[in-house]
Symmetry: C2
Subunit: 137 residues, 2 copies
């Protein structure tokens, strides 16, 4: 099994230079967690789970485009960081439900504030892109 996304240089388990955790310092473990939270699939997975509890394949459909492998990897990383709760029932067929922990909910809320803001301003972004691209052509 592939290891849960860990930056190669031991960033994830590094120490923080100062008194508090500082993502701007390259060896701070908060940088690794921030990457799990804001990463391509981490952000969308947390966002999807903010709506409730979902099974693996339900989640896969909600996070449009994610592969089994990446969803699995993402969920493991978020579970390890204490943001996602995994409830597995040993029935046949198996049933596994994923939900946010209280900490995960707090993170997802702040993340969704950002996501919704970006979505709401996409028109401006698209205009800016046209201006940028036009100036270079």
């Amino acid at each position: 099994m592939e290891p849960i996304a860990q930056p190669a240089q031991g960033i994830e388990n590094g120490d923080c230079p100062g008194l508090a955790y500082d993502v701007f310092a390259r060896s701070c473990p908060s940088r690794g967690t921030l990457e799990h939270v804001t990463g391509r699939w981490g952000a969308l997975t947390l966002g999807a789970l903010h709506d409730g509890s979902f099974r693996f394949n339900e989640l896969r459909r909600r996070v449009d485009g994610v592969s089994e492998k990446m969803l699995s990897q993402t969920l493991h990383a978020l579970e390890r960081d204490g943001l996602v709760h995994r409830d597995a029932q040993a029935t046949n067929p198996p049933r596994v439900d994923y939900s946010l922990t209280p900490l995960g909910r707090d993170v997802a809320e702040r993340l969704l504030t950002l996501i919704r803001f970006v979505e709401g301003r996409m028109d401006e972004v698209l205009v800016a892109r046209e201006r940028y691209d036009g100036a270079r052509a």
Copy 2:
């Protein structure tokens, strides 16, 4: 024809299926912008610029660990999305100042709310990790 594996550029310029921009839809351009904002270097660069205006190499020192190449690439993407303003003076030696646009400031604020929250809860995350790793050993 639906390209199964869409490169980042394809996603970036894709159309949205519904009425609003929805990052959960794989072809929505908002997903690309969200990735610029929350990406490894994008998030840290926006966060650094929230403190004010900085020159290229000042920024490089603030975003600990970023290479010239990645900072350059990140700044271009954020400038294109209308989040960063680039002020180049044709002096010798050249002087270029980077700052946030009003839209970039709004994005950075919401991003920093998330970053600071994660930093402030790292102790809990680290405890969760130990529990997770311990249960598997």
